[in-house]
Symmetry: C2
Subunit: 368 residues, 2 copies
């Protein structure tokens, strides 16, 4: 079933729009200056919407400064106190996330929906298996069915007010429950889904769990916006989210690196070369594919299929441009040579009108 079209500030979620990349700031929202600096860093990394925690009135107040300074829509994350959600909306938040397990009953939810409707803000009903509505948990337990029932109960309260600009998330720390809940919800509602695996763990475990869940769901057409949750800097959440969308062939942004695993055949410092090249090209928005390969077995083949490639061995390496081997360089000169070519191709891409646009532009919908 196609999901309905929901607006979040100037972005669209659902209704066939490209899957939107979200993250959550971890700077203290009450310190507006630091929060803004982090939001700018996250947007530069590719975040298309940023959620901030709003635990008290001072945080809700700070949104008056934060929202106008942010190039991406700001979503207020509110628990326990419904009044804070209303305040956040009045102070300019493009969206509010509430948790049915702790926001305090239908009357309060209706008040939030009315404020959101008046302001044109979006609302996310964010169910979390770790903090389910007590009544629901008693009746349905804590599995996928309980999560979906909790969401549907809250949605009914919201939609009674006529409000429709609604998203839903059904997060569990178990990938199986996350996948089952999202599938079940998709079969029962046209409301767009925000996908995420909650409390996913540190970098390796977190990326693996999120990529497995989102890979399965997005490949089935379930999911309209994603957040990778990591116990790690939020910039890495954004990098992981884009890596997942790129892997699925759904969206592209910036340089994609193809690089060898190291093995007993590797004769150069491949990880060092990759890191160097990645750092040199961090500012490029052009969706180039660059191969950084360490040996003669798969190196030349992969390097040939990328926009640019280097295949190294014994202190030197070859440079490939659009499939042609064009020069050979001592190891120390490989990265600068690659950078020169990458900037040349990126400039050509910009001149041609940057057909595949950086995150968030209207044109980026052509990626799909």
């Amino acid at each position: 079933m196609a999901t309905r079209r929901v607006t979040l500030g100037d972005r669209v979620i659902g209704g066939g729009a490209p899957v939107l990349v979200q993250t959550m700031a971890n700077a203290d929202t009450r310190d507006a200056r630091r929060a803004i600096a982090q939001i700018l860093s996250l947007v530069a990394a590719g975040a298309e919407a940023v959620r901030v925690a709003v635990p008290d009135e001072r945080a809700a107040e700070a949104l008056r400064e934060i929202v106008p300074a942010s190039p991406a829509p700001i979503i207020a994350d509110v628990h326990f106190k419904a009044q804070l959600a209303v305040l956040a909306i009045q102070n300019g938040a493009s969206g509010v996330r509430i948790n049915p397990g702790n926001i305090g009953g239908p009357a309060r939810v209706r008040a939030i929906a009315e404020a959101a409707g008046k302001a044109g803000a979006a609302l996310r009903v964010g169910v979390n298996s770790g903090s389910l509505d007590r009544e629901i948990a008693q009746k349905y337990g804590r599995g996928p069915e309980a999560m979906v029932e909790s969401a549907l109960k809250e949605i009914r309260a919201v939609e009674e007010t006529g409000f429709r600009n609604l998203k839903v998330s059904l997060k569990a720390s178990s990938v199986r429950d996350t996948v089952a809940a999202a599938r079940l919800f998709a079969s029962r509602s046209d409301i767009p889904q925000h996908l995420g695996v909650t409390e996913a763990g540190d970098l390796i475990a977190g990326v693996a769990k999120s990529a497995v869940a989102m890979g399965i769901l997005l490949s089935e057409g379930v999911g309209d916006t994603i957040r990778v949750s990591l116990t790690a800097p939020p910039e890495e959440e954004v990098e992981a989210a884009w890596a997942i969308l790129r892997a699925l062939g759904l969206r592209r942004r910036g340089v994609e690196f193809i690089s060898c695993p190291t093995c007993g055949r590797t004769e150069i410092d491949l990880a060092g070369l990759l890191k160097d090249v990645k750092k040199r090209l961090a500012d490029l928005r052009a969706p180039l594919k660059i191969a950084v390969m360490g040996c003669v077995v798969n190196g030349p083949g992969e390097a040939r299929e990328a926009d640019l490639g280097v295949a190294g061995g014994r202190g030197k390496g070859s440079l490939f441009v659009k499939g042609e081997r064009i020069s050979s360089h001592p190891f120390a000169e490989l990265a600068p040579a690659l950078e020169n070519w990458a900037r040349r191709l990126a400039a050509e891409w910009e001149e041609k009108g940057a057909r595949i646009s950086p995150a968030g532009d209207a044109a980026s919908r052509r990626d799909l």
Copy 2:
């Protein structure tokens, strides 16, 4: 279609056996002492079979020392020179991986199959989109169909000799091609598949690509053994492989950590606490679930569902054991208190006969 049962040393691949975790050593195989040290480290990290590069006769020779010293089956990775594959088998390798794109025609492949048959070794036909057989590439291009045709051509040559102890891998740097090729092959053959995305990139991109591809395929029942390829230490490949299998609910090994993303509500050094706890418990093989949570919103709920949990806030935290909040501790004492409990539960698990066994034991097949 169920895959056939293939043996690799004392391990089974295919025919319904648990998905086997592989990695590849990057120490120089010719330096047997260093190669053995790395193999032991990889096995401790959870590798159930280790591949080593065999680029020349000295490397093949070193297998005489390496194989008897390794607790896991050793697979020789051979390119270009068929004779090295025969030598590796004669020197004790449990398996050999050859690449149809560069091993040199059917007569040589038959010679390898005959040596493997005599020794009871396994053979992997490892197709790589970056180094396809030239004839095949001319006829079919470099996509999934070409990869499958290349594998089937090689398999025919091998099976003409009566050899059946065969696996196949169809690796591409594109997730879409990897998924499409594996599905296509599974519809046409009962030979077990080794899954991997080649040249997947650095940690975040590599884990994301591998987890998306393996998540989709394994959830469909395709794939019998996996290797995550990363431009990173191979121990991290093993950690990522287990994280993927755990996420899918296929296998468990060692402690699983559930932990918060950090957000504006976090009041403790959560990443530091997680790192500390992970280090303290790195040697535990018991499949415990431990929640390390930073706040009062989802913390207590998640901590309650794990075997053990801490939920922290403002300089102190609560400890949960099997769902019961049992004590409160100053922040500095949380990790030691958690460690004590984890070791107690792990000892109980060992006493009960360690029903879910560490990697590679026969009993581990009960996980599924």
